[in-house]
C-alpha cells in the first residue's frame, strides 16, 4: 500500500519536476543598419538588376574597435545577469569555418559531397531569437562631446520591439570617446534589461509568441484551403485547431487565401502535455499529425526558422 502511494506521488510530481526549463531564447548584439550606413559598413548586392544594401557585420566587428568594445561590454553585463549572449564575431567566424569545412567534406568510398538544399544555405546565417541592435552617435558642441546611444531588442521572428533604451549622456570636456561609450552602455543597460524582463514575464504567463505559415506545394494535386471536409473548409479546420491549441485562444489569422494561411501572434504554450519544453516545431508538428489522419489524410512538411517561426507545407514531404 505504502509503495503504491509513493509510486503514485512520484508519477504525479514527475511532470512538475520536468517543468521550469522552457527553451531559452538566444540573444545577439549587432550594429544597427543606420550605424553601419553612417560608418561605411554596408555592402551592395545585385538583386535582379536592383542594387540592395545590406550591413557587413564581419567587416564592422573586425575593424571598428569602438563597436567591438560596446558589443563586449553589453555581453559582459548580460552574462552578469545570468543571460550570456551569442557572440557576433565568433558567430561570423564559425559560419565561415563551417562553410569551408562543408566544402571539403566528402565520403571516403564514393567521394560524395554533403547534401544541402538551397534553403539550408539561405538559413545558414548569423541569427538569434532576439537581435539587440546597437547604435550611437557622437555629438560635438564646441569643446564638449556627448553620446546619443540607442539599444533595441527585436524579436527576430515576430518583428516586434521587445525592449529598448535610448538617451543622450551628459556632455563632457575631457572624457575620451571609449569612456563616454562605456558610461552610456552601463547607464542604459538596466532600463533595457527591465523591459526584457517584462517581455520574458509576459512570455511565461501568456505563452511564446510565434508566427506560423501554412502553405501548399504546387505539385498539381489540386489541394487548396477551400477543400471541404464535412462541410468545413480546410481553412476553418486549421483555424479551429489553432483556437483549441493556443494559450487563451490567442492568435491572429492575418492572411487567408486559397493557397496561404498566415498566422501572426500565435501564443503557443511553453510546455507540452508531458511537461517537456514546447517549441514552434513541436507545436506545428502537432498540427501536421492532426491533418495526417482521416478524414483529412494530408501529408505535410514542417520547416522551422529558429524558435519563433515555422512553415507547414501541405501536399508532400
Amino acid at each position: 500500500m505504502k509503495k503504491t502511494i509513493i509510486a503514485m506521488l512520484a508519477m504525479a510530481l514527475l511532470p512538475l519536476a520536468m517543468m521550469g526549463q522552457a527553451k531559452k531564447p538566444t540573444l545577439m548584439v549587432v550594429p544597427a543598419d543606420t550605424w553601419c550606413a553612417a560608418n561605411g559598413y554596408m555592402t551592395d548586392f545585385n538583386d535582379q538588376g536592383k542594387t540592395n544594401h545590406i550591413p557587413d557585420y564581419e567587416e564592422a566587428i573586425q575593424t571598428n574597435m569602438d563597436l567591438y568594445n560596446v558589443v563586449t561590454k553589453i555581453g559582459e553585463l548580460m552574462a552578469e545577469q545570468g543571460f550570456p549572449m551569442k557572440d557576433l564575431s565568433q558567430t561570423v567566424k564559425s559560419l565561415r569555418q563551417s562553410a569551408a569545412e562543408d566544402e571539403m567534406t566528402t565520403s571516403r568510398t564514393g567521394g560524395s559531397a554533403l547534401a544541402e538544399t538551397p534553403l539550408d544555405r539561405l538559413l545558414n546565417r548569423a541569427k538569434a531569437d532576439i537581435l539587440v541592435e546597437v547604435a550611437w552617435q557622437v555629438n560635438t558642441t564646441g569643446p564638449k562631446q556627448s553620446i546619443t546611444y540607442t539599444l533595441r531588442g527585436l524579436d527576430a521572428y515576430t518583428n516586434t520591439q521587445v525592449a529598448a533604451a535610448q538617451g543622450t549622456g551628459k556632455p563632457s570636456f575631457s572624457a575620451e570617446l571609449p569612456v563616454l561609450l562605456e558610461e552610456a552602455v552601463i547607464e542604459k543597460m538596466d532600463g533595457f534589461t527591465s523591459q526584457l524582463q517584462a517581455h520574458f514575464d509576459d512570455l511565461m504567463e501568456n505563452g511564446r509568441e510565434v508566427n506560423i505559415d501554412v502553405r501548399i506545394f504546387d505539385n498539381g494535386s489540386g489541394l487548396s484551403f477551400e477543400e471541404e471536409y464535412d462541410g468545413d473548409e480546410l481553412t476553418d479546420v486549421i483555424d479551429n485547431w489553432m483556437a483549441e491549441n493556443t494559450v487563451n485562444h490567442r492568435y491572429n489569422l492575418a492572411d487567408a487565401t486559397d493557397m496561404v494561411l498566415h498566422f501572426e501572434k500565435v501564443r503557443i504554450p511553453l510546455y507540452r502535455t508531458n511537461g517537456r519544453p514546447m517549441d514552434t516545431r513541436q507545436f506545428v508538428t502537432e498540427l501536421r499529425k492532426y491533418l495526417s489522419v482521416a478524414p483529412y489524410s494530408i501529408t505535410s512538411k514542417v520547416i522551422t526558422k529558429g524558435l519563433g517561426k515555422a512553415n507547414l507545407i501541405l501536399g508532400e514531404k
Partner: protein
C-alpha cells in the same frame, strides 16, 4: 459546530473586509524611514549606482546608516532620476508593490542585511537648514548588481534567467 459555520457564512464578507483593512493598516517599512529624497549623482563604476540622498530631519545629526538605509530603499522601490546627469533608473525591485508583497523578507532585510550593499562617498555630506528642519545630504554608492543577485537568489525578485 453547525452554528459556527452559519455564523461564518453570514459574516464572511465582513471578515474579508476586516482582513483587508488590517493588512493595509499594518505599519509598512516606509513608515520607519525618515522623509527622504533620492536622485542620481552620475554614473557609478560598473555594478554600482551613485545616488544623492537627502534626509529631512528635525535634528542636524543624521547617521550614515540612516542615509544608507534610505539609499537602498530608494534604489529598490522608488528608482531615481537626475536632469543634470541625464539619468533615469526604474526601481530595482521592479515595482513599489514588491515592498508590500514581500513584507516579511524586507522587514528582516532592513534590520541589518542592507548594510552590505552601500558605501558613503567620503566628504560628500552637506547639512542645510530648511525652515524648521535640516536637510542632510550625502552621496552613496549602492552595489546594485550584488543586491539584485542576492534578491534573485532569495526568490524575492525575478532574474532574466528565471524560468529558462
Amino acid at each position: 459546530m453547525k452554528h459556527l459555520a452559519k455564523l461564518l457564512k453570514r459574516h464572511i464578507s465582513r471578515i474579508v473586509l476586516m482582513a483587508c483593512v488590517l493588512t493595509f493598516a499594518l505599519p509598512t517599512l516606509a513608515d520607519d524611514l525618515p522623509d527622504y529624497q533620492i536622485e542620481g549623482a552620475g554614473t557609478g563604476s560598473q555594478g554600482t549606482y551613485l545616488v544623492r540622498v537627502s534626509v529631512l530631519s528635525k535634528k542636524s545629526k543624521v547617521s550614515d546608516d540612516e542615509i544608507g538605509r534610505c539609499a537602498i530603499h530608494g534604489v529598490l522601490f522608488r528608482g531615481f532620476a537626475s536632469k543634470e546627469n541625464r539619468q533615469q533608473q526604474k526601481p530595482l525591485a521592479g515595482s513599489p508593490m514588491v515592498e508590500m508583497q514581500q513584507k516579511a523578507f524586507f522587514d528582516d532585510f532592513f534590520k541589518s542585511a542592507y548594510q552590505n550593499y552601500y558605501q558613503m562617498v567620503s566628504g560628500s555630506r552637506q547639512v542645510v537648514k530648511a525652515g524648521k528642519q535640516y536637510k542632510v545630504t550625502s552621496v552613496v554608492t549602492v552595489s546594485k548588481d550584488q543586491l539584485r543577485k542576492d534578491l534573485v537568489a532569495a526568490d524575492v525578485i525575478k532574474g532574466l534567467n528565471t524560468g529558462f
